[in-house]
């Protein structure tokens, strides 16, 4: 345990040195504070030459060389499978065999975790959602992608090619990976018919089985869940004038928080880990919760009586892109992997496995994997316009003058969960 702490702090220190070295230069010509210098020099003495390899690679790569033997990827749970969870779902082995690049996976449960891991460094790629991608572009944690080096780029769904969550200032910072809705999962024992509104997880009420919903619903343990509340208000309280659930002014934001405070009273646990939520639907008698299609699939595979729906309000959703770290140690394997994500069975089989939609439309129909046209429709391929994709809330927003920025979402959501 102690060694782990030391290790983590050495990593933080390294982060600190790299940052001070880079940030202090042009921005603060005086060279920064005393503390900074003390830290810098003492750490430099301590760590010696071990970080000599740290350079800032801001420019795009123009050609792919020999593979480095490995690639380190931060991914959502369930995104990178090598046939270990279920034998039929494997899109890593073929890549490792054909390129000799070994894939090392680090899973992250929230977008904030992904940003933090990428800030820490040591990874090449990340499957970032829209609420993480722009933060990493702004923080210069990811590098532009040279799409000419990815032969299958042309097969990407046109709706995603220049999507604002990875396409910034005429540069591509990511390769579209997968997208899907945050569905409403419900127990079919409690609901004989699919609930038509998100109301069942937001307001105290009796469910069709005659019992109150208090304690039997869950909500996502990430600040982005505030957008789900805003999405609900967009439909039910049009006088608030919400145009996008990610662009909220003070009044709209306060209304969303009020709704979430009401929700706190009926939520027994905020789900953070997909597998704990699965366990809760099996052993805690949960009736409904917003969730990813991933959990629905696993629970149904286990014969738990659940189903999912996109209610009348529409849903929030995620659209993920593979993005490359600004200081990626294994750029060649990274480019090979990005090509692999588009050209192999990955798009098709992952969309079956995760219940999501492929970024390459042909993957639904051309039989490269298990997915079929009907399967894609069931996953919501045609609902693209009903889904409000996760984006990072910023203060200078398009739809109105100023919006509440993300850092307030973080602290206020912790407060709401704490009952404030």
């Amino acid at each position: 345990m102690f060694l782990l702490i030391v290790f983590v702090w050495i990593k933080k220190l390294r982060h600190l040195v790299v940052n001070t070295g880079l940030e202090a230069g042009p921005k603060h010509p005086q060279g920064g504070s005393l503390m900074k210098n003390i830290l810098k020099s003492s750490v430099a003495i301590l760590m010696g030459l071990s970080f000599a390899g740290q350079t800032m690679a801001q420019t795009m790569i123009t050609e792919i060389g020999e593979g480095e033997g490995q690639v380190n990827i931060v991914a959502w749970p369930g995104y990178l499978e090598r046939g270990e969870t279920a034998e039929a779902f494997d899109w890593i082995t073929s890549f490792e065999e054909s390129t000799s690049c070994m894939v090392n996976v680090k899973t992250a449960n929230t977008s904030d975790e992904m940003v933090a891991l990428m800030n820490e460094g040591g990874f090449d790629l990340v499957t970032a959602s829209g609420d993480a991608s722009l933060r990493m572009v702004a923080g210069k944690r990811v590098q532009p992608i040279n799409i000419d080096l990815i032969p299958s780029w042309s097969t990407v769904d046109d709706r995603l090619k220049n999507a604002p969550w990875h396409y910034v200032e005429d540069m591509h910072y990511g390769v579209p990976y997968m997208w899907g809705p945050n569905v409403l999962m419900y127990s079919t024992e409690v609901f004989p018919e699919a609930p038509t509104s998100w109301e069942v997880v937001f307001k105290a009420m009796d469910l069709p089985d005659g019992e109150p919903n208090q304690g039997r619903v869950q909500a996502y343990d990430g600040p982005i869940h505030i957008a789900d509340a805003a999405n609900y208000l967009m439909f039910h309280n049009p006088e608030l004038g919400i145009i996008s659930p990610y662009e909220l002014n003070e009044d709209q934001y306060a209304a969303a928080l009020d709704l979430l405070r009401e929700q706190r009273k009926i939520v027994s646990r905020y789900w953070h880990d997909a597998f704990i939520q699965i366990d809760d639907f099996k052993n805690e008698g949960m009736a409904a919760s917003g969730t990813w299609p991933f959990q629905v699939g696993l629970l149904q595979g286990d014969n738990t009586p659940v189903a999912s729906t996109i209610p009348q309000e529409g849903a929030t959703g995620w659209a993920d892109s593979t993005m490359m770290h600004a200081e990626a140690d294994n750029p060649n394997c990274s480019y090979m992997w990005m090509e692999h994500t588009l050209s192999s069975n990955l798009q098709s089989d992952l969309s079956v496995w995760f219940g999501a939609n492929p970024a390459v439309l042909a993957a639904c129909t051309d039989g490269r994997g298990m997915q079929t046209a009907e399967g894609c429709t069931a996953n919501g391929l045609d609902d693209f316009d009903r889904i409000k994709f996760w984006t990072t809330p910023v203060s200078s927003c398009e739809s109105q003058e100023t919006c509440v920025p993300y850092y307030r979402w973080v602290s206020d959501y912790i407060a709401v969960i704490g009952g404030r």
Partner: protein
């Protein structure tokens, strides 16, 4: 060959003439370890808490400020501190109450082969994986878990439901209530309370207890005025373990409980997930201050006099 042995001789002569040099050489590696790696990392942490974060990009601004400490006193963050301290106190008191009779029995009455069996019984939970223990407790406490089933079989569900209806400590089921978190903390940290208590109880001479009885003290008086003061160092040592371990833990409240944050989770969330290392560091300083205060209080109460 000759030259080498001459050199060795001169080294050993030097060390013999200057014994302090020898001591210095021997003590240098552990001192470096303690000074640089241990205290160094601690000060790096403290230093981080005086920085602040750029709110959009999550990049840390390396300018000294107390802004981050100010954020600790926001109601939502202060709640987290209070919640954690109350939980740590409750766990410590609970562990002392449950642990004392167990330790007393082990120290006084367990004889022969029962003694090692007792040690094993207390220590065995420490050998299995922490996560396995916590997950199995989640299953035990679940709505459709074994504990609920027992209550149902005994037709006592009304009792459990009445208890769960109490605000703050109750909830929809035990596994999502503060009581559940308390029970799991209690289970996981109990050995750390029992073992030091047992060690200190074994050192209490039983002649003293007999003398107390001979002089007319009732059992309670013997306990209050003879046994407890003599065993107090063990209780304090145990309470330092349980209190500090509960203060820092971030896994148990994430798996069992009402999702309301504890300090450890706040550190984890702000550092690991929000990238807000300054606020995480400021949160991490809180247990250090609390423990320093706790030790100071214990010392003032004379808890260490008997050591």
């Amino acid at each position: 060959m000759k030259m080498q042995s001459a050199m060795l001789t001169s080294i050993s002569d030097t060390l013999w003439r200057k014994p302090n040099l020898l001591i210095l050489l021997l003590i240098l590696p552990p001192a470096l370890w303690l000074g640089i790696i241990y205290l160094g990392s601690l000060f790096a942490l403290l230093a981080q808490s005086f920085f602040s974060i750029d709110e959009f990009s999550g990049v840390i601004q390396y300018e000294l400020t107390l802004k981050t400490y100010g954020e600790l006193f926001r109601p939502s963050n202060f709640d987290i501190i209070i919640r954690t301290v109350v939980m740590a106190t409750a766990v410590t008191i609970g562990a002392a109450i449950i642990g004392f009779p167990v330790a007393y029995f082990a120290a006084r009455y367990a004889q022969g082969k029962w003694k090692p069996i007792f040690y094993l019984g207390v220590m065995m939970p420490l050998w299995s994986s922490y996560l396995v223990k916590v997950y199995s407790w989640k299953l035990i406490l679940a709505k459709e878990g074994i504990l609920n089933w027992i209550f149902e079989s005994l037709h006592l569900s009304w009792l459990l439901n009445a208890y769960l209806a109490i605000p703050v400590i109750g909830g929809y089921s035990l596994s999502v209530s503060a009581t559940g978190t308390f029970l799991v903390f209690l289970y996981v940290w109990l050995p750390f309370m029992i073992l030091p208590m047992q060690a200190s109880l074994e050192r209490v001479p039983h002649t003293m207890l007999e003398a107390s009885g001979d002089l007319g003290a009732r059992p309670y008086q013997t306990f209050r005025h003879v046994l407890l003061p003599l065993a107090l160092p063990g209780v304090i040592a145990g309470s330092i373990f349980t209190f500090s371990l509960t203060l820092g833990d971030y896994i148990i409240p994430q798996i069992v409980g009402s999702s309301r944050r504890f300090i450890g989770q706040a550190v984890y969330a702000y550092q690991g997930t929000a990238g807000n290392i300054p606020l995480a560091a400021a949160f991490a300083v809180v247990p250090i201050i609390l423990m320093a205060f706790y030790l100071w209080l214990a010392k003032r109460k004379g808890a260490f006099d008997a050591l």
